[in-house]
Symmetry: C2
Subunit: 317 residues, 2 copies
């Protein structure tokens, strides 16, 4: 790698994006301003090149914010800048280029697409494009592939009855556990408790995970996959207040009846059988209890589910 090429590359973390620090750094590194492409255009003997952040995998990232790429930037000027940048990044041995594009700047997306970029993902008000520059097949990690649905099986252990609903807008009126999609950042158990309350008004607390289902090309997942987690919950209230927008009806149903009826789904029936087995022989035989552990990243935690192990560790096992 040539030193003069390397010196053009900004090393900042994504957290600094848009900050005064980055702006100052970008300006300090940039040459004479190009009227159309702001501080990110730089005249050099090797042509123009956008200042870019380098990651530890050897890729480069550029943020096409409005400040540096004004709304009136010509598509032709951006194309020349991108062409020259790609030449330089290839010469430097970069393996990938990433562009973060505010939605209002989406004209530039079409220009980048003509140079081989594709969408990696997009959310709300920005898209992220990528282009593999390395040899062979792209090694870039894909974006999220799964939605996570949850069902809350609220079991009243005293009566052996479980809370079931029939959804609106379904062709078949099957009895199911209340549930729905988890929100971004929401734990499986919290989502189950929330969905139960939203659909039936029943308050409950999380006890354990019972089952996980994986289904690909799931209807309603926009071509992506679905993970569906059935949770065992304990009721804190019993009175049903139906959400008329989501549910046709709801009731407390005996587990044996739910395990027997044809008016249910295979996965709900399986949940009923797991709960029946737990009620008769102890829930430790069906539960996947939750444990929170510290993540590698300082201050972060994760939720882990598996069969309970005997206390005391392997020496007492």
């Amino acid at each position: 790698m040539k030193n003069n090429a390397k010196s053009r590359v900004l090393k900042v973390s994504p957290d600094d994006y848009g900050s005064a620090k980055l702006q100052t750094a970008a300006r300090a590194m940039a040459g004479p301003r190009d009227v159309k492409c702001g501080v990110f255009a730089k005249q050099g003997t090797n042509g123009n090149a956008m200042a870019a952040e380098v990651d530890r995998f050897g890729g480069v990232t550029v943020y096409l914010n409005e400040r540096d790429f004004p709304p009136d930037v010509s598509e032709g000027a951006f194309d020349v800048l991108l062409r020259d940048s790609l030449s330089q990044w290839r010469a430097e041995g970069r393996v990938a280029a990433w562009l973060h594009v505010p939605i209002a700047q989406s004209r530039l997306v079409a220009v980048a697409a003509a140079r081989g970029f594709t969408f990696h993902h997009a959310r709300r008000d920005r898209s992220t494009l990528c282009l593999w520059l390395g040899e062979g097949e792209s090694m870039l990690p894909a974006f999220a592939t799964h939605q996570v649905g949850v069902a809350g099986a609220v079991l009243d252990e005293a009566s052996g009855k479980v809370l079931v609903v029939q959804d609106k807008n379904k062709t078949k009126n099957a009895w199911k556990f209340p549930g729905g999609l988890s929100n971004l950042g929401e734990n499986i158990g919290d989502a189950a408790v929330r969905e139960v309350c939203e659909e039936t008004g029943v308050r409950a607390e999380f006890r354990s995970l019972l089952s996980v289902r994986q289904q690909h090309d799931h209807p309603g997942a926009f071509g992506m996959s679905d993970l569906y987690a059935t949770c065992r919950l304990r009721p804190l209230s019993f009175r049903i207040t139906l959400c008329p927008r989501e549910c046709l009806r709801a009731e407390w149903m005996g587990l044996e009846e739910l395990a027997r009826t044809d008016a249910t789904t295979p996965i709900t029936r399986r949940g009923a059988l797991l709960l029946l087995h737990g009620l008769r022989h102890g829930f430790q035989h069906v539960d996947l209890p939750l444990e929170e552990l510290p993540a590698v990243q300082p201050g972060r935690r994760y939720q882990l589910y598996h069969r309970a192990l005997p206390a005391g560790g392997p020496q007492n096992d």
Copy 2:
């Protein structure tokens, strides 16, 4: 809803998109062609409106393909068309509007954004925008929120040794089970078998799911969440051929040593403890066996994981 407004709405399934059928239908329904916006522009007493597909939730969808919205369509003309379409859709009581935009047409994304649309998602060569038109908060389902990582714990039951690796590019050289991200459409077990083989050359077969971890705002997940599934695998070969691109080293390590060493991660240690317990007392105490069941959608199947139940159903339970 007025009849003349309703008659402008195409009712086609997404599968028909781009097909001769849709093109013919669109042309048959369209009025005089607008030079700039193809068949999708229609003059009417209520103004211009794009033909749109109606879904069963009361939303409308428009595909901004190049055939109907040529590359030289003016942003001003599209803006007027979109404005009039939104007025009409609101008057018709539509709750949401969806735009599917090929990447080369991304100029139109910026126009739509100025009218309130945001990205729902984008993949490869197209983006999908949405705008909630109903009352209150948006009820539109979100896009995929999780990546699914897998780890393959390949246990040689005869020796009590398990296959472990140290990743390249990590700050801490911790022993872990080989693994990585599952691909779109790939089952958890298949992904674990593939990752083990890619990283170590060891062939193995899936036996069961051992644990599931959920972590939010996961580093490397582009702000999204991560589900990490540890699988128990049985080795079909033992010779290690290290992938130098991904791994620093790999070896068969005794389970007790892996459960004891500091040079590992909490989740790997937990996996070692689960395997030890299984080896000593039977894997039925730690396994979540896989079962394939038919989905509601004809011809589709899904994979379900939970504690094994006694054979014969609840009457023998």
